[in-house]
Amino acid sequence: MGGFAKNELAAKRGYTYRLTRRQLLVASSAAALAACAPAAVTPGASPSASPGKAFKLGQLLPFTGVYAELGNSMRRATELYLNQHDRKLANRPVTLVYADDANVTATGVQATQKFIDQDQVDVMMGVVPTPLAYGIRNAVHAAKLIFIDTNAGGNALTRDTTNCTPSCKSPYIFRASFSSYQISYPIGDYLSAKGTKEFFLAYANYGFGTESAADFTTGLKKNGGSTTGNVAPPLGNPDFAPFVTQIKNQPTKNVYSFFSGADAIGFIKSWNSLGLPAAGYKMYGAGFLTEQDVLKEVKELANGAITSLFWAVELDNPENKKFVADFQKQYPLLPDVFTVQLEGEVAALDEALKTLGGDTSDKDRFVKALEDVSFKSPRGDFTFDKATHNPIQDIYIREVKTQNGQTVNTISDKIAKVTDPGK
C-alpha cells in the first residue's frame, strides 16, 4: 500500500519509479540475511520449547531532549541484558523496536500508537516522564498491550482513582521502577520515628515534585512530625540562589528536597556557595537528588546528604556486584539507577516468558505470569504487588560520603518490602 502510493506520487511528479543499485543491494542482502537467520537460530533453540518466533519488544525512551541521557542509560541496560542472554528472552529471539519521545508527550503518544497499530509489538516498555505515562494509559489499556513502565513514578498509574483522573491502574500496566510514594513516604516515616520531626521543604514545582513532598509530609505526620514551610522552584529553573537564600533566612535546619538532574546540581551548588552547611543546615531528599549523574558533578559538595532510594551502586549483594562488574565490562562507566530500573524490567519479562515457555498467545496467562515473577535483582528481592502491579521493594536510607576520593551513597539503613498503598 505504501509502495503503491509512492509510485503513484512519483508518476504524478513526472518520473518513473525505478529500482536503484543501492535499493537492489539492500533488498538482496536483506534476503540473504533472512535466508541465513533460521540456520543461525536453530542450533540454539531447545527442542522441547515452542519454536523461537521473534518476540517484538517496543521501547519508548527519550534519546533527544533534556532526558536523553536517561534514555541512553536504559538502552545500555537493555543491550547488556540481551547480549548476556544470546539476544533472547526465554526461547524467543528478540526484535527490538526503539522509539524516541524527545520528552514531548504528543510525540510519545504517537509512537505508542505506532507500536500498537504498525509494529504490533508483543510488549511495550519505557516512558520517563509521568505526564507521558498518564497520556498513553488509555491507549495501551484499550489495546490490551502489556506495558511495563521503566521510570515514570506518578502514583496514579498503579492506583485506583476517582474517575481514573489523572490516571489509574490497568491489568495490562506494570511498573518496574517505583512510585513517588515509595521513594518519599518511607523516609518521612523513618526520620520522624528516629526523632527528627521538623522539616522545611524544597521541591521542583511540577507533578512529581509536589507528589513527593506530599508523601514525605504524610510519612512525617505519622509520628507527629511536621513541615514549617516550603520553596518550590519551577522545573528546570536556571538559578537556585533565590530559593536557597529563602531557606537560609528561615530557622528550620532540616530540609527535605525533591530535585533531580540539572536541578539537583544547581540546588547543591547554591546550597554550598551560600554557606548553608556552615550555618548548620542539613540536606535530605528523595534518592535522585544524589544519584550518579549528580554526584559526578558536585562530588564532596553533597557530603552528608541523606536520601532514600531502592538501590545504590554500593549495595552489597551478589546480584548487584555482578551487575555493576558486568556493566563496567561493557561500558566505561558506572551503572546508574535508570539502568537498574530497565534491567529489572527486562529480567521480569524474561522470567514470565520462561514460565510460559515463550507462549504469549493467551494475554491473561501472560499477565498472570508477570504478576507471579519473583527473582533476586541488583536492588534485592523483586516481586510485583498483584493488586497494583507496582514493585514491592526494599527502600534504602543512604548517606553521601567521600571515600578514597570517590563520592558515593553509603547504605545506612533499610526499610524492608515497601508496598504502594494503591489507593
Binding site: T64, G65, V66, A68, E69, N72, N205, V231, A232, P233, P234, G236, N237, P238, D239, A241, P242, F243, T245, Q246, K248, N249, G261, A262, I265, G266, K269, S273, L274, G275, A278, A279, D293, V294, E297, V298
Partner: protein, 291 residues
C-alpha cells in the same frame, strides 16, 4: 521579608540580571544592525558553554576558556553570515527559519560531540570562595558576574559612542542601505556584527556555566527564552535597551519566583505583556515595524 533577606535577594537579582545582559547583548546587537532575529542565539550560548567545558578540561584554566570560547563562536559566526545568512538578506521570515534550523543542528552536534549528560563547571580558583556581607556569606563568583556585566556594558557603550566602528554600528542601525550607498562595505560590517553577536553568546555561555550549569535544554531555557524576554522588554536593537531590560527582568524574576512561587513563570511574561501593551517598542527601543 527582613532587610537582610531583601538585600541578599537584590544581589541575587542583580547578578542574574548581569548574566542576562551578557546573554542578551549579542542578540540585541545583531537585531539592531541586521534586522535578523537570531533564534540560534541560545544554541550559540550553549556551544560557548560546552567549548569552555572542554577548554577547562584540557588546560585547567577558566581564564583561557573565557578567551577561547567567544573566539571560537566568533569564527563560527564569521563563517555562517556569508555562507548562509547573506543569501537570504531582506527575507526576514526565511532568515528566522534558517536560524531555527541552525540551532537544531548545533544542539544535535553538541549532543554527538559532548554527550547528553548534565555537566557543570566550577568557578575559577580565587572566585570560588565566599565573602561575608550583610546577612551572611555570599559567593564571590556572583559578585564577579555583576562586575563583569557592568564592565562589559561600559566597554560596549564606549565603543558605541567613541569609536569608528561604533559610529558605523549606529549608522547601520539607523539605515544600513544608506550606509552602503555611502561606500561602506556592508557585507564586511554585517559579517563582523554577526560574529560579534555569536562571540557575546559564547562569552555568556562561559560566564553563566558555573551558575546555570551546562546541560541539554540550556539553549532554550535560559538561553533563548530569557534573552528574548530581555530585548523585548528593554527594546530591540539598542544597548541601553538591553541594559534596562536585564536590570528589570533579573530582579523581577528573582523576587517574583520566591514571592509568587505558584505563578513563578508567569511573572516575567506578565511584565513582557504589560510593556508590549503600554510601550510596544520596549522601554528604550526604536523598533521599526514593517520597513
Amino acid at each position: 521579608m527582613s532587610f537582610e533577606l531583601v538585600f541578599q535577594q537584590a544581589l541575587n537579582g542583580l547578578s542574574f540580571g548581569a548574566l542576562l545582559f551578557i546573554l542578551a547583548s549579542g542578540l540585541s546587537l545583531v537585531f539592531g544592525m541586521m534586522d535578523v532575529v537570531n533564534l540560534a542565539h541560545g544554541a550559540f550560548y550553549m556551544l560557548g558553554a560546552y567549548v569552555a567545558l572542554s577548554v577547562v578540561q584540557l588546560t585547567g584554566s577558566f581564564w583561557i576558556a573565557i578567551v577561547l570560547a567567544p573566539l571560537a563562536l566568533g569564527l563560527l559566526g564569521l563563517a555562517i553570515e556569508p555562507v548562509l545568512l547573506r543569501r537570504l538578506r531582506g527575507r526576514h521570515l526565511d532568515q528566522v527559519l534558517l536560524t531555527i534550523g541552525l540551532s537544531l543542528v548545533i544542539v544535535d552536534v553538541i549532543g554527538q560531540l559532548w554527550g547528553r549528560e548534565v555537566r557543570s563547571l566550577a568557578a575559577p580558583p580565587g572566585l570560588d570562595g565566599s565573602v561575608t556581607l550583610i546577612g551572611g556569606v555570599y559567593p564571590v563568583y556572583r559578585l564577579f558576574v555583576i562586575a563583569f556585566g557592568a564592565a562589559l556594558a561600559i566597554v560596549m557603550s564606549v565603543v558605541y559612542r567613541r569609536t569608528k566602528i561604533g559610529r558605523l554600528i549606529r549608522a547601520g542601525v539607523e539605515d544600513a542601505q544608506m550606509l552602503g550607498a555611502l561606500g561602506v562595505d556592508t557585507n564586511r560590517l554585517f559579517a563582523s556584527t554577526f560574529a560579534t553577536g555569536a562571540a557575546l553568546a559564547g562569552l555568556a555561555g562561559v560566564i553563566a556555566a558555573p551558575v546555570f550549569g551546562v546541560q541539554p535544554g540550556m539553549d532554550t531555557d535560559p538561553g533563548l527564552l530569557y534573552s528574548l524576554v530581555v530585548v523585548v522588554v528593554g527594546g530591540l536593537g539598542t544597548l541601553s535597551g538591553a541594559v534596562a531590560g536585564s536590570l528589570l527582568i533579573g530582579p523581577a524574576d528573582t523576587f517574583g519566583k520566591v514571592l509568587f512561587q505558584d505563578v513563578a513563570l508567569a511573572v516575567i511574561f506578565a511584565i513582557v505583556a504589560l510593556v508590549l501593551l503600554l510601550k510596544p517598542t520596549g522601554l528604550l527601543g526604536r523598533i521599526r515595524i514593517a520597513r
